[in-house]
């Protein structure tokens, strides 16, 4: 039988110390190892029953329940004052067989995999590798859980792919303690799994596009995500270049992604006519306190898989954030006036070093290139998602804010991704620039700009300049800023509340709400939400 260990706690904090916030209990359910060996479905259903038992207990007490993954979010989206559930012991995985696939499905069974919520990205990478498969995209590193990733909309910079939730094809949700409360949800327009598969996980099937897209980025509040079906692809290689490029050209590319007509080219990455190829991934870094003529950029091209490439890990590790940032944080945090000067040092520590020969790539699989994070210690990360054509303007505004009202010990970067179908997906524009500022948490003196004030002013500055934007749900922001959700999502936020209210009973919606959801106004229950919203549309 699955077992739950419950610890009485007083507070909860994230990996990067963005809290702490109060919490009372930390539950952690682990699957039964013997059942795992014997029968996947029995083991999985046994874990589901245990989660339902916990939900029933919490519901009866009128308290709340919030699942957490790796606590890599840099805000309180995963916190609950009462019951929290740590998913690390729920990491079953299974390849989908031909028999599991829906008769009308356009998916190839070999590309579909089922993961239990607590499976971490690195576990997924390792598992898929054994099948010669790969994730299409992920964040810059691999410690998050699959359920945590989709709940906040984790992305990389693969602009042709999108975010992690965009390759999810089915969700298994537990929305309450009753027998009818295990749901398998997938879009009506693109079925993936058969009803027989759903029956094996004791789920009732809902095929509904909009409901599925509402639940995809569910902020931890659309029920307990127990299992996730994803579509993967054949293993591929990535050629990663870290190089410098002309500031003006970097900004032109940031606003257009027009690589084909760029003056910037890497000799090995051009077509037969000598025109630059379109990269798979583009990320550019900026120090707000310097007006460098050249900007550091990470550019990645996708290549077919082959086995004979040198081990990339030693070079990849050098190119990641280091523990030094945490040490820097302690110094910078105490003497804010020195931030601009020290941000130069931070740059040295945090930016990926240019390749010794910028025209020679580091080559590796997706899993190798986006490897373990070395980042530790108190850190913040704010991320604004803006339309491509507003990317440079947004950077200019926010960097000016750092210079004029700061200092702020952080560095900016821009990544680029395609629009997400998720109702509350942060990439809400046809092509979105994810403008981020990552840095160390600093202790502001009275007159200095604090992190909270910076978050608030960022919103004001962007709004004041009519920049449409959304914010990454897993990052640092002034989430209680009045009207911010309506500004960002408008009608979509209203629909999200309606779909959530149609799927969850009022009582369970309360169980799955938390302070974050209350602050953003998204916990509001729509009493008269049409029940049809949570029904299959075919």
């Amino acid at each position: 039988m699955a077992t739950t260990i419950t610890r009485k706690i007083t507070e909860y904090d994230t990996l990067h110390k963005n809290g702490p916030w109060p919490a009372e209990y930390m539950h952690s359910t682990s699957i039964d190892g013997r059942l795992e060996q014997a029968d996947f479905f029995q083991c999985y259903n046994d874990a589901a029953a245990e989660i339902q038992r916990l939900l029933d207990m919490v519901r009866a007490k009128g308290e709340g329940f919030r699942a957490i993954g790796s606590s890599w979010s840099l805000n309180h989206i995963g916190q609950h004052d009462t019951h929290m559930h740590f998913n690390r012991g729920m990491n079953l995985r299974r390849a989908i067989s031909v028999a599991d696939v829906h008769a009308q499905s356009s998916y190839k069974s070999e590309n579909l995999f089922f993961f239990q919520c607590g499976t971490r990205v690195k576990e997924i990478n390792n598992y898929l590798f054994t099948f010669g498969k790969s994730l299409k995209t992920s964040g810059a590193s691999n410690g998050q859980t699959i359920a945590g990733c989709i709940s906040t909309g984790v992305h990389g910079s693969a602009h042709d792919v999108g975010s992690m939730q965009d390759y999810v094809v089915g969700l298994n949700l537990i929305i309450g303690p009753g027998p009818n409360d295990i749901v398998y949800l997938e879009p009506a327009s693109k079925s993936a799994l058969s009803d027989a598969f759903a029956a094996q996980i004791r789920a009732r099937v809902i095929r509904n596009d909009e409901l599925f897209h509402a639940a995809l980025v569910g902020l931890g509040s659309f029920g307990f995500i127990h299992g996730i079906v994803i579509e993967v692809e054949d293993l591929f290689l990535l050629n990663r270049y870290v190089t410098s490029l002309d500031r003006a050209e970097a900004f032109r590319l940031a606003g257009t992604l027009d690589f084909r007509n760029s003056s910037f080219r890497i000799p090995g990455e051009v077509d037969a006519l000598g025109k630059p190829n379109m990269p798979h991934h583009f990320k550019v870094f900026m120090n707000p306190y310097r007006h460098d003529a050249q900007l550091r950029a990470e550019i990645i091209y996708k290549k077919p898989y082959r086995k004979d490439y040198p081990d990339p890990i030693p070079r990849v590790r050098k190119a990641l954030y280091t523990e030094f940032i945490a040490g820097m944080g302690n110094i910078i945090g105490r003497i804010p006036n020195r931030i601009p000067a020290l941000s130069r040092m931070l740059e040295g520590a945090a930016l990926p070093p240019e390749n010794a020969d910028p025209n020679t790539p580091v080559t590796g699989t997706h899993a190798e290139i986006f490897f373990d994070s070395l980042q530790q210690g108190p850190a913040f990360a704010c991320e604004f998602c803006v339309p491509l054509d507003k990317a440079v303007k947004a950077y200019e505004l926010l960097s000016a804010l750092c210079r004029n009202e700061g200092p702020v010990p952080g560095l900016f970067a821009m990544r680029f991704i395609r629009k997400s179908e998720a109702l509350l997906g942060c990439p809400a524009f046809p092509y979105t620039c994810m403008l981020e500022i990552d840095g160390v948490i600093w202790r502001a003196k009275k007159k200095d700009l604090s992190l909270q004030a910076f978050c608030k002013r960022s919103i004001q500055v962007l709004q004041g300049n009519q920049i449409p934007f959304t914010m990454h749900w897993g990052k640092t922001a002034d989430w209680a800023y009045p009207g911010i959700i309506e500004y960002m999502y408008g009608e979509k936020a209203k629909r999200w509340r309606e779909y959530r209210s149609a799927l969850l009973s009022k009582e369970m919606a309360q169980v799955f709400s938390n302070k974050f959801l209350d602050e953003t106004g998204l916990s509001e229950y729509v009493d008269n939400a049409p029940v049809a919203l949570a029904k299959s549309t075919i």
């Binding site: 994230t14 790796s70 990491n91 690195k122 373990d372 530790q376």
Partner: protein, 113 residues
Amino acid sequence: MPHQITPFFPKVLLILATTLLTACYSVRVVNRDAIYRQVTPSGNGFYADREVHTLDTVIRSKSWQQFWLQEKPCGDCGFYSVEYLNTLGGSLRYFFTIGSRRTIRIKYVCATK
């Protein structure tokens, strides 16, 4: 008559202190393909979200070259990381037992399946 400290003593102490302090070090070996056993975050640094076990033990220097952990600490999953720490206490013991005993501290994190 008060005891006189000869200039010889401070020098010896200084050498001793320097030797002992430089003898405090740690070496951490991490299995790069493994997945660590996770805990909810607390504290800072490498072990902030890793289930770490600490083992303090005294061994005879003779058995140093091959040291066996008595029990099977990580079941069938193996280690994610092993850190060997030479602490001040360990260096002192080594010094006062004229090299016959060594205190070692091992911190390890198990991998998951």
